[in-house]
Symmetry: C2
Subunit: 353 residues, 2 copies
Amino acid sequence: MSKFWSSFAQRVDPYTPGEQPRDQKYIKLNTNENPYPPSIEALRAIKGDCNDLLRLYPDPNSTALKEALATYHGVDQKHVFVGNSSDEVLALAFMAFFVQSKPLLFPDITYSFYDVYCKLYGIEHKTIALNDALAISVEDYKHENGGIVFPNPNAPTGRFLALAEVERLLQDNPEVVVLVDEAYVDFGGESATALLGRYPNLLVVQTFSKSRSLAGMRVGFALGSDELIEGLERIKNSFNSYPLDRLAVAGAVAALKDRKYFEETCQHIINTRQDAVARFESLGFSVVPSAANFLFVSHERVSAKQLYLDLKERGILVRYFSKPRIDNYLRVTIGTDEEMTTFFEELEQCMAP
Amino acid sequence: MSKFWSSFAQRVDPYTPGEQPRDQKYIKLNTNENPYPPSIEALRAIKGDCNDLLRLYPDPNSTALKEALATYHGVDQKHVFVGNSSDEVLALAFMAFFVQSKPLLFPDITYSFYDVYCKLYGIEHKTIALNDALAISVEDYKHENGGIVFPNPNAPTGRFLALAEVERLLQDNPEVVVLVDEAYVDFGGESATALLGRYPNLLVVQTFSKSRSLAGMRVGFALGSDELIEGLERIKNSFNSYPLDRLAVAGAVAALKDRKYFEETCQHIINTRQDAVARFESLGFSVVPSAANFLFVSHERVSAKQLYLDLKERGILVRYFSKPRIDNYLRVTIGTDEEMTTFFEELEQCMAP
């Protein structure tokens, strides 16, 4: 603690991202990155814009990207907000909508950054336990609240909540913002963007980091009603005018246009995931049904923490959370088929008596 | 106003950046960009890293950039913080240090984002009037305060405050953070980094947007004591883990290493500025002494606002602020020699009777 720190700096409990080793010696199945490279069109567009114009500020409105997203999702440009990763979009959304006198609701097992934002802004919150199948039960959200946020599919479970259930939450809570964090939706979920026109309290957040293979470029976005997007713009323009650099915008626009590559890689990952489920089950793991690019697995007789450590020693990174209810689970990102073959070979050796 | 907005979203008064026309038809002397392109080494490094690895998250600590900055400035890596532009660094610093019970002090005529941050976070502040020469008078800062912030050179005046005066502020205010915003220091100022070892309350903020010609890539940084950098890291890691993308880091590291190009372009701009001062004075303008890459000028008999509009019509953008005390000034960024020749030709025509 320093005498110079404000109440903000004092009360925070910062987020810990998954390990990002600076060498290349690991098979990285720990941070839900896409195992396939970005669209070649995205790389071409970035290189094309890597020129003398980098001396100039970007468009503060990132209009080119908003236009491309509006076209893609069939909405008006004024219903699109863009930011430096979906984490930044979430950070701004928490500030814009969830600093309320009533508590924010989110699942007890979920993306751990939500809790970090609450500490940062001093937001009171109440976690709602997932049911025994590690699923969100919408019934349990009938509490007085200042907003609701959850990932769909949820992380780290991978479970998808049906849109009809999402719609019930929106109907039950018309006075507060319901934020659906769809970082993983392209791997088998169904986007709540379909509900946008009918619910002014709905904010959908997505990212280019997973299904678009652009984690290295930091692009996220939100879709919502006029008033929600305006609220986000007000905060963003009071914080940092130009969070998206020229190359991030160029890459994201091009990635969005290369629909064929996007669909192929998503489908490939879904197929690999199905094979991985079978392999895990054949080894005696229980596997939470996943609509994401990762699996959340547990074994009755083998310690997840020990497996995490043993796999790391063998050059494979997976994610282990030392948290109540999930401290015997591993979250394993779906890699290439070759990576998964190696992963299961090593896993079997770790489990050998 | 929307029922969904938090107190944050309600009370803000967002910043308005200078115009960024999407076409190229203007001579842009309005946002203090560098008229010269980024170092060819920076462009090469960015292109070199524009590859399949963009599918992976960046290093959340941006270690490569911190190392390069630490070496360049002769400090330890733990005294370096990096962010998505100096605006983001400032936004995080205001949150980390200036949310205090006592008012923040800054000049009445200064970078207009300071006021925006205060509104965002609900920070009480007191502006201290520049003296009649539009200079900061350190004597006038003897008020009880929760921190002090000012640009050096100041913007939009361009005036530089001597380091001995900066040191007096640091000595007079040992219990609060004194933030010296050195966005323009490389064009003739002297950095307060020279004082770093002796004042744990000093935070120096700089940017790659001006002297490094990388406004399009969004890279800023801060240098300060262990406890100030740690305070910034705590907030940053509670907001957005990876604000700097892979290419921004690659470009910034390479730009920093190309010292020769940096020094040549800065010197060229300083020379052009000296010529511009003489031209302005020959046309009857008064020119505030500038150590920045812009000039702040006023004419007794000609309306600044009208000149701004007339110049825009002639394809030249400069910056006009409709604010008390400076509403008859124009801020003119130093362009290339060719751009300045055109600028003065057009200016003379605007002024012709």
